[in-house]
Symmetry: D2
């Protein structure tokens, strides 16, 4: 199946409609049906004490990447909303770009569930953060 | 016991050292031993499609409020880091200030665990988001 | 409000309809609206390597206590089902009875969300396990 | 790398040392380094109201499969203990055997993190439950 949202549409949605995350500079690089990859370019204000990238930056990216996975399957249903996210921080990411790869594990009529793995752009095999989450799909889309 | 971090210190830490969240305007109003309350003033860029407050804003606030709970117990050990957060979104928060109240459930030598409840400032009895999380405490503090 | 399920009904439901947990010997001691307490009597087969009580015993009890909280609010709607549980093990429980106390944090039309805290019966102030979970409520109850 | 625990050893550990889950009849079928698969044969006492398999059965199996993944990497360190499990129930499993497949996502010195996917034995592509969890590894192993 083809993705029902394009990279261009998803970058615009992130930038214009989820500005808190869009303004961090997130850029999608791949969107397929139930699958999405985005890159978060490094910026100084993403750091936290200790000089590693702050958790909320990773959580924001993961949430929007999962949103892209959902929209890639059901089309641009903007009122799909997160109902839960479970976030596990596995390593402290050093300053540098991050890559987040998400995929749907299940997509029913009312709920979609998936996972997102984040890694440093130059060490994709060593995840720094793993997220699972559920989106609620509105009945009247 | 007295809190080992003050409101002033915690506001400064949020603003200067976790700028991604500090720049959202989070302001602590209460810090006691193992307990912290902060307010997130409403701003337009906190919205998401549908006109409600975006999840990443709430997650960022919850993470920093839990950080304050940990520092209130162990002192300013900045290298305490989140290892996991579980976030449940209970209602879509309408535009307006949010209040986040956190408390430690357990604080051991290596791990601290607590919960944060977020609600609209004018409807504190109806939580919009509930978060539990674990912080790892460095051994050599 | 009064609880819409009684201690006797809930003990019978656990024993006859969720035998995997009921057969562990769980016994409810308090049920109020949106609130339930149960005791798990110690038995040797609840142990795991190291001589502490096994996680799955605590998870099973937490799930049924949360079920009781939901039924106490909406009445005996047996098809209410768990959609997610987040379980945090805080201490290794020594051999002995456990007490699990649950409460609803939110109960909407479709979803209920609550938390359960487990502790040794002789050290209720030191939780050994903290659980949050979501139940889905069938639309046609 | 070779798995550091065998199928026979793991079946014995489940049966003798985690009897609550072992007695449900769990049987490992594959163990590789950081990877394990087990089958849970159907039994009537695994049902819950509505005639589907109860959540605690799936949580118990997931916990032991993740334990096997950890032991397959670090060897038989029985005091490795679960610190958190996040469980998402995706479909109501009809009566029948379940298969649980686990894999490590990260294994550090102190913490291991992985995921387990459960499905009906005759519909492996449609997961019924997805679990992520963290094990704590004792320092003095």
């Amino acid at each position: 199946m083809t993705a029902r949202v394009s990279i261009e549409e998803m970058n615009r949605i992130a930038r214009e409609e989820v500005p808190l995350v869009g303004n961090m500079g997130i850029a999608f690089t791949t969107i397929e049906d139930g699958f999405a990859v985005a890159r978060l370019p490094f910026r100084d204000d993403l750091l936290r004490p200790g000089g590693t990238i702050t958790g909320p930056a990773m959580m924001g990216v993961a949430d929007v990447v999962l949103y892209a996975c959902v929209l890639s399957r059901i089309g641009i249903v903007k009122l799909a909303v997160t109902t839960s996210l479970n976030v596990n921080f596995l390593r402290r990411p050093q300053p540098g770009d991050l890559v987040a790869e998400g995929r749907l594990i299940k997509c029913g009529k009312r709920l979609a569930y998936g996972e997102v793995t984040l890694a440093a752009a130059d060490a994709l095999g060593d995840p720094v953060c793993h997220v699972t989450g559920t989106y609620s799909i509105p009945p009247d889309r």
